[in-house]
């Protein structure tokens, strides 16, 4: 998936814990001294910075934006673990310093014109919605395409431009591999009502202290699967639930309704074999009024044949020339970083997580079964003496959710705390409940029958249902 939400800083924490000295020597790539670059109008400065590198950009003259968010003049912007492009409409001079895996001036930027025109289309539709009180509301946009073609970048730009134009667009991230204002394994919906950050994109969900960029409060559903296709029925059900909440919200809030919504999807939905069943599901659940496809011509073709009859325009949007493939390693680091930031915040907005030790008997724990979890569990249990694994690992359950007792398999994983009473036994209710927060399993003491959780909040969560699954993968070094 493309980059957004991920800028970086929290990584600083990891680095300071792990290794400080070695990075600097081992870092490959570009020199560290500050240098200046002049960008002609409508060009962009592309850079790929890994998680060990620090890269800074400062706009000296002119104007420049990153994913639709303008860089403040003469302010230093720090990046780490980012593949992005600073674009300028008017031309600008940048001062760059730090290291990057690559950095170069991109002249092929026709995509930006198309993206801005999409913004213009949305603006027009929003204006129409505003001037016609009886209207159905603003544009409801679905963005589909293979992985790494710039879908999330497009959406982030559209969100930022929309906010700058005075709207409050609602962004829905339906890709559980990458969190939006939340750790991976989440489906997020957020109405963006305040400006976005160059470095942190959508910024941060509400915290107890002051923040550099205003907080954005997301609604989170738990999708503990590595891919949307692992459990297509559950995935669809979660999207149905999300659509219900979002639709309700838009009905409550006129400006949000006029501003419309934009849905980001994982590349896995680009699936001709299922006849794009999931895409069709989203289109109907969210009453999509515009489909944007990136990257795949076939997808565009198939969808326009299918939906043009329903009066839903399907537009094929240019993929940015700089859209960068992210390898598995990068994605894993990204996931780890998002988990870390959920508990510890970023270097700009540091947070204190809290430790809670809870007895087995007080935990209402459920496990979301999935093929990838079964594989992971088999690997775990075969690697250890399976004296205590008979209760679950042996036979993979055919059910979607199983009530389980805490076990070593959970170690290092995220457990979703749901707005759902512990007395609830209905799988559907458990599946559909929104997420109140995530706890990290830092220790499972099977002898004393208790679990130590790392929680973002000092308060305990009572008897609320907790759910864990195969995604995100365990993070071993979260708590040092």
């Amino acid at each position: 998936m493309a980059l957004p939400g991920l800028s970086l800083p929290g990584l600083g924490l990891a680095q300071s814990h792990v290794s400080t000295g070695s990075n600097i020597q081992s870092a490959s790539g570009v020199s560290q001294t500050a240098r200046q670059e002049d960008l002609p109008p409508r060009t962009e400065w592309r850079f790929e910075v890994n998680f060990q590198q620090q890269y800074t950009i400062k706009v000296l003259t002119g104007h420049a934006e990153l994913f639709g968010v303008e860089l403040a003049p003469n302010q230093v912007h720090n990046f780490s673990g980012v593949k992005g492009a600073v674009f300028t409409w008017q031309g600008c001079r940048l001062e760059l310093s730090g290291e990057a895996e690559s950095e170069y001036l991109g002249h092929e930027t026709d995509y930006a014109v198309e993206w801005l025109n999409v913004h213009g289309m949305l603006d027009t539709a929003r204006g129409d919605a505003q001037s016609t009180p009886s209207s159905e509301g603003g544009p409801r946009v679905l963005v589909v395409g293979p992985d790494f073609v710039g879908k999330s970048s497009l959406i982030r730009s559209l969100a930022a431009w929309g906010v700058q134009s005075g709207w409050t667009p609602t962004i829905i991230n339906a890709d559980p591999r990458e969190g939006l204002l939340a750790p991976p394994g989440s489906i997020s919906a957020v109405t963006v009502g305040s400006w976005m950050s160059v470095e942190d994109g959508y910024g941060i969900s509400p915290i107890s202290g002051p923040t550099v960029t205003p907080v954005k409060a997301p609604l989170i559903y738990h999708c503990p699967y590595a891919s949307a296709t692992e459990k297509p029925e559950i995935y669809k059900a979660l999207l149905t639930r999300t659509a219900l909440s979002v639709t309700n919200k838009l009905e409550e809030n006129l400006l949000a309704k006029q501003s419309g919504l934009i849905i980001d999807t994982p590349g896995a939905l680009n699936d001709p074999r299922s006849n794009y069943a999931t895409i069709a599901h989203i289109v109907s659940e969210f009453s999509i009024s515009l489909i944007l496809t990136l990257g795949s011509e076939r997808l565009s073709n198939d969808l326009s044949r299918r939906f043009t009859g329903d009066n839903i325009p399907v537009l094929r949007i240019a993929k940015p020339a700089g859209a960068a493939e992210k390898d598995a390693q990068f994605m894993k680091q990204l996931a780890n970083q998002q988990i870390r930031q959920y508990f510890f915040g970023t270097s700009k907005d540091p947070l204190n997580p809290h430790s809670h030790t809870i007895a087995f008997t007080d935990i209402n724990l459920w496990r979301a079964n999935s093929p990838s979890l079964t594989i992971a569990m088999n690997a775990t249990s075969s690697g250890m003496d399976d004296s205590d694994s008979d209760s679950y690992a042996s036979a993979p359950s055919t059910k979607d959710f199983d009530r389980v007792t805490p076990s070593q398999e959970m170690l290092g994983r995220l457990v979703a705390i749901k707005f759902c009473s512990g007395s609830e036994t209905d799988e559907v209710a458990i599946r559909d409940s929104a997420v109140m927060g995530y706890a990290y399993v830092s220790e499972v003491d099977e002898a004393k029958k208790r679990v130590r959780f790392l929680s973002p909040h000092p308060q305990r969560w009572g008897d609320r249902v907790m759910v864990w699954g195969g995604w995100p993968e365990a993070v071993v070094d979260l708590v040092g």
Partner: protein, 698 residues
Amino acid sequence: MSARSPRVSLSGASSDEVAIDFAESLKDLQMNNRFEISNLTLIAKENTEHAQAISKTLEDHIKTIVPPRKLPALYVLDSIVKNVGTPYTVYLGRNLYQTFMDAYTLVDGNTRRNMEGMLKTWKEPVPGAMDSTPVFPAEVVRPIETALIKFRTVMVQNNRQNQIQQPTYRNTPTPPQLNGRYGVPPSQGQGQPYYGQGVQQPSMYQQNTFSPAPNFQQSHGYPVSGPQPGNDAEAIKRDVTAVITQRQAQFAANPYNAQIRQELDALLQLQKLLSTQILDAGALQQIRNQISALAAAAPPAQSTPQPAPVQNQWQPPPSIPPSLLARPPLAYSQPPSTQPSLPSAPFLDPNALNGLQALLANGQKPSTPQMRAAAPALQSASHSQLSNVQTQASAAPTLNGADLIASLARSGLLPNLPPPNPTPTPITAAPPPPQPSIADLLKALSTHGLFPPSSHGTPAPPAANSSRPRIPMTAAALKPFRPELVHALYDAHPNQCSTCGRRFPASEPGREAKARHLDWHFRTNQRMADPSIARGAHRHWFEGEMEWIQLVEFDPSTTSAEVAAVAAEGGGAGGISGGQGKKKVVKEEEKWVRAPPGVTRNVCSVDFEEMKSTYSEELQDWVFQNAVVWGGKIVHATCAAEMLGSAAGRAGGAMATALQGGIGQRQRSATPDSTGSTLGKRKAEGALAGVGARVKME
């Protein structure tokens, strides 16, 4: 967590760069604008490593700036030493005598009084601070005081002969650019034994509370001007010619002043345009407003002796036709004439007019606070009524007496008048920008289609409107480059925040929003710098479905500051109508926050209970009861107090101190910023304490 430095805006820059940057910002400081002063203070605070360079820059600025601008610059100094403290107190303390006395000898009497008040506060601890050391050590302040006593003795003797000392800036080579705009410098609400003054001075506090309006008004200089002749193109042409003559004279005196030349060019262009085209009434009115503002901004071509002792800051430029620059007291003694171009001017009651005339004649100038002081009827008026009047009065410089009376009547302050005309006149609908400049003039003209819109001149409303291109959702529409879309995102919002890059329209609401936004940055950074707040931060739980559905997203930077400003207004209204010392600390339950536009429901982020807005008759607006702004969100006042109490006993105690001691202490301070707006670094839990204190009402 050590890496908090990225937030610091200018870190990494050299002292020279910082100093230059700071000097640039100082140059923009034209009047006593709390937001700009906050911003400068923030820069100073974030760059304490360059304190020496910044201090030097500030001293030089105070030394070299024209006298009318010295006071705001001194307020910057005051705000920095109070809000940041060391090392600035050390650096600025070294030359304080020189800095202070140099300025003191050059400024007029009002400013001197303000400076004296400010000096007084330097002998005392910072309001709300925990430590009791004075702002500046006694050995720094005492020599100044001694010098002032001598100075005053001489002054008194001079006054016996002269009645009034002529403002010294008349003799300076630099023309005073802010003539007339400096009408109401905030002065000390108390402790002014030096000059017996008949007219009540607005306290610095009250000044603060009205920040949008008085700024506006000060900028116009003629908030309530008299009857104007009809909108007749010939008259305007004459006026333009007069202004051109005046500018030409200036240009001759200052051949290198690019601004004057630029203005002159534009004026000549305008003159040509006037003689070749026939303009509609609205356009003429716009031009008239601009021209009169320009004329007002211009220095008098020659200095005439000023007999009125109180009008030491204001002189009518003799080279301007009197019809253009109606001096308010004069204007109201003339028989009122309605403007034929106005659709239906209300009928004028001569008695009412006389009353108003008397009312206005009492004051030095028709600045609103003094109007209040002079008119007993206004003393009991509610704030909203007053601000209504004020808005109307300040919105239209060409407002005639009829309109003013109508607006007074509308507010129920003047009885026995015929029903006012509810139709807004074109003038009030289009208030000219407060900075009368050529750019504004051109902009105003371009809105009438006379000039092509310039790149920076097109006002853009925040939401979509017809000025945006319509783009259909078709593949063909994707391809062409539309510069107007870029324009809408960038140039249409030329007013940029230097901290986060956010843009605001150049319109008056845009300026206000930006000012609030800067204030928000300042408060946020202040709170982040406070280890007791930032260290314990944790992530909140996510919202549940119902909470999220009902959550209304809004920009806390513009909203919370607005709420804060409104809260300040509330406090100010109490202060004005009730006099000083009558304010009381309100209970938590009685605090309120004005509901942001469109927000009717809000979920308290502490106890997650829903809050519903109610309509307050008193405030004429929707408010959340039992509410304060905390962390950028509206929460129950009781919850906030609870959270605060449990979070840190120390902070809670300090807040209580701030709440209880706030009034007296804040009035002692001369800097609007360190007082009205919660900015004191040494005030524990600034935001909440400040809001709480400012929500006080009658």
